[in-house]
């Protein structure tokens, strides 16, 4: 496939791996967080960790947008979806995320009209086709998906579509990174910045991370060579004694972001005073809600939602796992109350979360897996 295979070249990867190994100080351990779930997916899909020395560890961050939705919000969404006049529309991977009382899949089986869409514009299409129903789009994701939700609301407003609304759960990446950085027991040496989010917000918002917290960040693309090169750039900064924000993903990410997309978000949404993150708790100014001007498109105001609060159990230690303080198996509820079938924290929700991966495959060391593939 053109424009894809070029970034999956095993020979180039081997060359980068050699350079990476050469940059590592003997005896030193490196922990880098890949903030974005898309990076986790690439690392997992291509077996990228095989190219990294044992001393370089990648920590999966909070950037899986469906995993950070708190259980209470899922319950609220289901309450809306259960109304007979409502068609709830959502991205596919939201379907399995459990609330306090089941997932969208469970609600659909119980009779709610919940449909998967691939773009909020598809939800708009459903609204046009079903004028006698109220169509709600479950808005989730970081600044990556927020612009498309905002543009859809703008279009609905322009068309005067009265039966379309958004249940807005969009979150913003910077406060989440800041929450992790503010932890006193932080054990990270640097960040792989979220490439897709950065196409919208640019690289400038990360500058405080290098300046105030002394952690380098490299904004990384999503192909395996992108990630290897970004790890190389982080190690190079540490070796050179630099601490900067660098942009590896220049083919897509402009330093100042996408002003039109930011403008669309700004016109339709504003910051919430606080929002709950699964595993991380409440974070100030960390999510978006609909502006008053677009109240008629705001499902939260149209429907009486129960405002369910399901506290993460106190014993859940996802925060510590995310910060690299704890290994998954060191969490108090790992494998007992919290399993892939009954996940409590964000790290267990997605199959690529640190805890879910460890639950399924932790008994097999990487070296054993590597050995086996030499058949």
């Amino acid at each position: 496939m053109r424009f894809v295979d070029e970034y999956r070249d095993a020979e180039k990867a081997q060359a980068l791996a050699t350079q990476i190994a050469a940059l590592c100080e003997p005896g030193r351990q490196y922990k880098f967080m890949e903030v974005c779930g898309g990076h986790t997916h690439t690392i997992y899909k291509h077996g990228l960790e095989d190219y990294l020395p044992e001393s370089v560890q990648l920590v999966h961050g909070p950037g899986c947008p469906v995993c950070v939705i708190p259980m209470g919000r899922v319950d609220d969404a289901i309450a809306i979806a259960q109304r007979p006049d409502v068609i709830m529309t959502t991205f596919g991977d939201m379907m399995r995320v459990p609330g306090g009382n089941g997932s969208f899949f469970d609600a659909k089986a119980a009779g709610a009209d919940i449909r998967m869409v691939y773009s909020p514009l598809d939800a708009l299409k459903i609204a046009r086709q079903n004028p006698d129903r109220r169509v709600v789009f479950m808005g989730i994701g970081f600044e990556t998906t927020a612009p498309s939700t905002a543009m859809t609301v703008l279009r609905a407003a322009a068309e005067g579509l009265g039966n379309f609304s958004v249940f807005c759960n969009h979150v913003t990446i910077i406060p989440a990174i800041k929450a992790i950085l503010d932890s006193p027991d932080l054990r990270l040496d640097g960040f792989l910045g979220p490439g897709h989010v950065s196409t919208v917000i640019g690289c400038r918002p990360y500058e405080f991370i290098a300046r105030d917290y002394g952690k380098p960040l490299v904004c990384a693309g999503f192909e395996p060579l992108d990630i290897l090169q970004s790890v190389y750039l982080l190690l190079k900064q540490l070796a050179d004694g630099r601490c900067e924000v660098e942009n590896q993903y220049t083919r897509v990410v402009p330093w100042d972001g996408n002003l039109r997309a930011l403008d669309a978000i700004g016109r339709v949404m504003r910051l919430r005073p606080y929002f709950e993150w699964r595993g991380l708790g409440f974070i100030n100014d960390s999510a978006l809600q609909m502006r008053d001007e677009y109240a008629t498109f705001d499902a939260e105001r149209i429907f009486a939602i129960p405002g369910v609060r399901v506290a993460d159990p106190k014993s859940c230690q996802c925060g510590e796992v995310l910060k690299g303080v704890l290994k998954p198996w060191e969490c108090k509820v790992f494998g007992t109350a919290c399993t892939p079938e009954t996940p409590i924290g964000t790290c267990m929700v997605s199959s690529e979360g640190a805890c879910a991966a460890y639950y399924n495959f932790g008994r097999f060391s990487r070296s054993r897996v590597k050995e086996a593939t030499r058949v």
């Binding site: 496939m1 898309g38 899909k45 899949f105 691939y118 395996p224 399924n360």
Partner: protein, 366 residues
């Protein structure tokens, strides 16, 4: 009076009318309605017309013709293989096929990969009230064509009609009987380290075709379902490579799911070379866009075979010599450790574990 009429040499006007009715009764049954109604499932005249006018007409064979409650089949000394499968695909018609040929090929393939020669099928229809009769005729015609191609006879059947809204147009169940005249039983427990893993052609075509045919994605790609009967291809393979341990058709859950079943049942590791797995560019492109792994996408005309490592090359050559196996490939090997796991050597040069899916493959948002 009656006797008088029969004896009468010249037909009266009444007699002419009665004769006409008699001729009409003897005429071939024709379904004249445009849509299926509840009457077509009620067991009366309408059912009879549907069965005789559509099903018997299409599937015509001596074992079906008596329309008794059961079909009587000749017995031989061979072992019999019996299988059943229900087909609920949506949409009913898609590039490369429809629910009709799927319902025949799917059951034929279950028999074929068991090592059996497929012989007889049953066909059960569950129709939704209001379903267009021309669509049903089209489905039945493609079932009949698929049955002819596969050399099987549809020997018994059933029709039910449910109220509008209680089903999605047309569901089909087929059961199949095949004759197993080879001495082997092909099962996962026969698999052992050193064996080779083959796939009979490019994977994921049926699943991607269905996803795109649903029209929910604004993606267009030049793909068609791979639905096909595999019994000849399987026979070719078995004649060439007596060391075949196991065959499975890679339907729901795709190749990855089958390999996981093999790994667990046999207590072995399956090591797959990603670069060797045949995937057509259009399928690969669609999967890449949707964030779905082709290894989990369904096929309807491909099977996975585990064969004795020493026979791998001969088996591959045999598959490639058949039109349905042109794209066959050797995709991996069976190892001993770690037992129960499927490992993938990625084209990028890394390794990963290929797990069983929790549910349907879902598109990722980012």
């Amino acid at each position: 009076m009656t006797a008088e009429r029969i004896a009468a040499p010249a037909p009266t006007r009444e007699q002419q009318v009665l004769d006409r009715i008699e001729r009409a009764r003897r005429r071939k049954a024709v379904v004249r309605e445009e849509r299926i109604t509840l009457a077509h499932g009620a067991g009366g005249k309408a059912t009879q017309t549907l069965v005789e006018g559509l099903f018997v007409e299409a599937f015509r064979n001596p074992r079906l013709a008596p329309l008794d409650d059961g079909a009587i089949l000749p017995a031989t000394g061979d072992r019999l293989v019996l299988t059943t499968d229900s087909y609920v695909v949506s949409p009913l018609f898609f590039p490369g096929g429809d629910i009709g040929d799927l319902a025949v090929n799917g059951t034929v393939n279950d028999l074929a990969v068991s090592g059996a020669r497929p012989r007889y099928l049953s066909a059960g229809f569950i129709l939704e009230e209001g379903f267009p009769v021309p669509d049903l005729a089209r489905i039945v015609a493609s079932m009949a064509a698929a049955a002819r191609r596969a050399g099987v006879e549809v020997v018994t059947g059933d029709t039910k009609v449910v109220q509008r809204g209680k089903a999605d147009g047309c569901y089909i169940n087929t059961a199949g009987v095949g004759l197993l005249d080879r001495p082997h039983t092909y099962t996962a427990t026969a698999v052992r380290p050193g064996d080779a893993v083959l796939v009979s052609g490019p994977i994921g075509e049926h699943g991607v075709t269905i996803m795109l045919a649903r029209g929910e994605l604004d993606i267009e790609a030049d793909v068609a379902s791979d639905t096909a009967p595999l019994h000849e291809l399987v026979a070719t393979l078995l004649d060439t490579a007596p060391g075949v341990r196991l065959m499975r058709d890679a339907t729901r859950g795709g190749v990855a799911t089958i390999l996981n079943e093999v790994a667990r049942a046999a207590g072995v590791a399956v090591v797959v070379d990603d670069a060797a797995v045949p995937v057509r560019p259009a399928v690969n492109g669609a999967c890449e866009m949707l964030g779905i792994d082709p290894l989990y996408v369904a096929c309807e005309g491909r099977f996975v075979a585990v064969v004795d490592g020493d026979e791998a090359e001969a088996a591959l050559a045999a598959l490639r010599g058949h039109p349905l196996g042109e794209g066959a490939a050797l995709i991996g090997r069976i190892g001993a450790d770690p037992p129960g796991l499927v490992l993938l050597k990625t084209a990028f040069g890394g390794t990963r574990i290929v797990d069983t899916l929790v549910g349907d493959p879902l598109p990722r948002i980012c």
